[in-house]
């Protein structure tokens, strides 16, 4: 019984962190799907989302606004707005001018953008860890009081439910809406969409904005979950989310969701049964295995089309 509870605890922790990875991974996968480049500044967009949320929360507290749902909602909206504008601007400034050039050029531009944003936040906010208030406290516990107890915090539930809502809305948007349909069409054949009169630049901007908004949601959630942020907050999370996107099949949205969850669960299982030190070894080892044996990822499609 105790073993089951322990396993359950790891599973819950894994699903929590994994769903946040999935939120970030969407941004990588959508951008890759549509213009075939890895947006290495995406982790920084997520980090900026977390900072914006923290600044908003602090600001609201100094104004004396204390009603939690309102604080969270305002922080979420501000983070999404700032991150989305950042995502949009990064594409305009750093990627659009070099689009269509050799693959390495946008990649280098992306890395440069990532370094720039990281250092900008270093300068503007300082390099120290800043505490992030845990606004959502408490939780449930299972199991006998004298042995191991599985606990689910309200924060974990919030992360899970928020992710679920975001994913559902995104899936509906992509599959049902006019712009979502255009996103899918552009990702299959950008030139053809252009020949149908569609302004493909606007669709590309839309994917950057959507990806950044979801990253901002993850920024707020994980900021609260971890309890502190710093300018490097986006680096490792971005790398993990990128791994999740490749794991699930880069370019595939359900793949990013699945990849995030698998990565999160395997990390927490490693921490729980082996040692926390090994968790990065396992996640990047998983990435290598996938690249060796199924380079298209779990749900990715090989690039063969019927003529």
């Amino acid at each position: 019984m105790q073993d089951v509870l322990y396993f359950l605890q790891q599973l819950i922790n894994g699903l929590t962190i994994g769903s946040a990875y999935a939120l970030i991974a969407i941004g990588y996968t959508m951008v890759y799907g549509i213009i075939g480049m890895i947006n290495f500044a995406h982790g920084e967009i997520y980090m900026i989302g977390a900072y914006t949320a923290l600044i908003t929360i602090t600001g609201l507290a100094s104004l004396g606004v204390a009603w939690l749902p309102l604080v969270l909602l305002v922080a979420l909206i501000c983070a999404m707005l700032v991150s989305s504008s950042m995502g949009w601007a990064v594409e305009r400034v750093a990627y659009r001018p070099v689009r269509g050039r050799h693959r390495l050029i946008p990649l280098i531009s992306a890395i440069g953008m990532s370094i720039f944003l990281q250092n900008y936040v270093h300068l503007a906010q300082g390099s120290r860890n800043i505490g992030f208030p845990a606004l959502i406290e408490g939780g449930f516990q299972f199991g006998a009081a004298d042995s191991f107890q599985t606990s689910i915090s309200y924060m974990q539930i919030t992360i899970f439910i928020t992710t679920l809502i975001c994913m559902t809305v995104l899936s509906l948007f992509i599959s049902r809406s006019r712009i979502g349909r255009a996103c899918r069409a552009v990702s299959q054949d950008l030139g053809m969409a252009n020949l149908l009169g569609i302004d493909t630049n606007r669709i590309i901007s839309a994917t950057f904005v959507i990806g950044a908004a979801l990253a901002a949601v993850a920024g707020l959630l994980l900021g609260m979950y971890y309890g502190s942020i710093d300018p490097l907050f986006g680096f490792i999370a971005g790398l993990k989310a990128f791994t999740a996107a490749v794991l699930g099949g880069i370019g595939s949205i359900p793949g990013a969701m699945l990849g995030g969850l698998i990565l999160g669960v395997s990390e927490s299982m490693t921490s729980g049964y082996l040692s926390g030190e090994y968790k990065d070894v396992v996640s990047f080892g998983l990435l290598i295995l996938i690249l060796l044996f199924k380079p298209t990822g779990l749900l990715g499609k090989p690039e063969v089309e019927k003529i």
Binding site: R181, A182, Q188, M192, N194, L196, E305
Partner: protein, 235 residues
């Protein structure tokens, strides 16, 4: 009344000139065929009309407006539609979604109307409306490509080798539809390697050879022309 005029159009790919001063005129309500061998520049000519690549010199005039320097997307919103080489349907989207992409800028009611019209023209597409387009046969995909082009209710349609790789029966069906489009008042510019059927259907025709117009006459005269017979109709 001319729908489309190309005046001394030159087009380059990098430093290589693919079109060496091409002049073509298509009148409203006509079917004009452009025939030529592989590599003559037929697809380049069509794509230059769409603005991708743009003509390096000369003028492209659509419905009286100079579109030489216009962005592809806005040209394609001004009454022009293309059925491109290789069809280029969105294989991961359903048939219906492909059609809706064609009518992207129209209202829901207009889309419904155009869609009913396309399904009437190609009942096969209606049977498959919820199927992923990539799973259909080549002929069905070609029908879809034509249907998608019609969704924007174009005044003029450009067709790039619609018969390529299709069975004779399907080819005949496609050409019938093209003739029908003219009867509905749509101007057609048809690029084909299948010279016999293309010229048979056309009011007028042009012969393109290595980036230059060699001949220009009515469809019937070109069919009777000994040079054309030798080069393109197998003697």
């Amino acid at each position: 009344m001319s729908m489309l005029v190309l005046e001394d159009v030159h087009t380059h790919y990098g430093k290589i000139e693919a079109l060496h001063g091409v002049s073509v005129e298509v009148n409203k309500g006509e079917i004009v065929s452009l025939i030529g061998a592989n590599g003559a520049g037929k697809t380049t000519l069509l794509m230059t009309i769409c603005g991708n690549p743009r003509a390096t010199s000369g003028r492209v005039i659509l419905g009286g407006r100079d579109i030489t320097r216009q962005a592809t997307a806005s040209t394609m919103r001004s009454g022009l539609a293309i059925v491109p080489e290789g069809r280029r349907i969105f294989s991961g989207l359903t048939v219906e979604e492909n059609l809706h992409m064609g009518g992207f800028f129209n209202s829901k009611a207009e889309i419904r109307k155009s869609q009913d019209y396309v399904y009437e023209l190609f009942p096969r597409l209606k049977e498959r409306q919820y199927q992923r387009a990539g799973t259909m046969s080549g002929g069905e995909q070609q029908m879809l490509a034509i249907g998608r082009a019609l969704m924007s209710k174009p005044q003029m349609i450009l067709l790039d080798e619609p018969s390529l790789g299709l069975a004779p029966l399907v080819i005949r069906q496609i050409f019938e539809i093209v003739g029908h489009l003219r009867d509905e008042g749509i101007t057609v510019f048809l690029v084909e390697q299948n010279a016999h059927q293309a010229l048979n259907l056309a009011d007028r025709g042009y012969v393109l050879e290595t980036g230059r117009i060699r001949l220009h006459d009515t469809g019937a005269n070109l069919l009777a022309n000994p040079d054309v017979r030798n080069a393109y109709l197998g003697g």
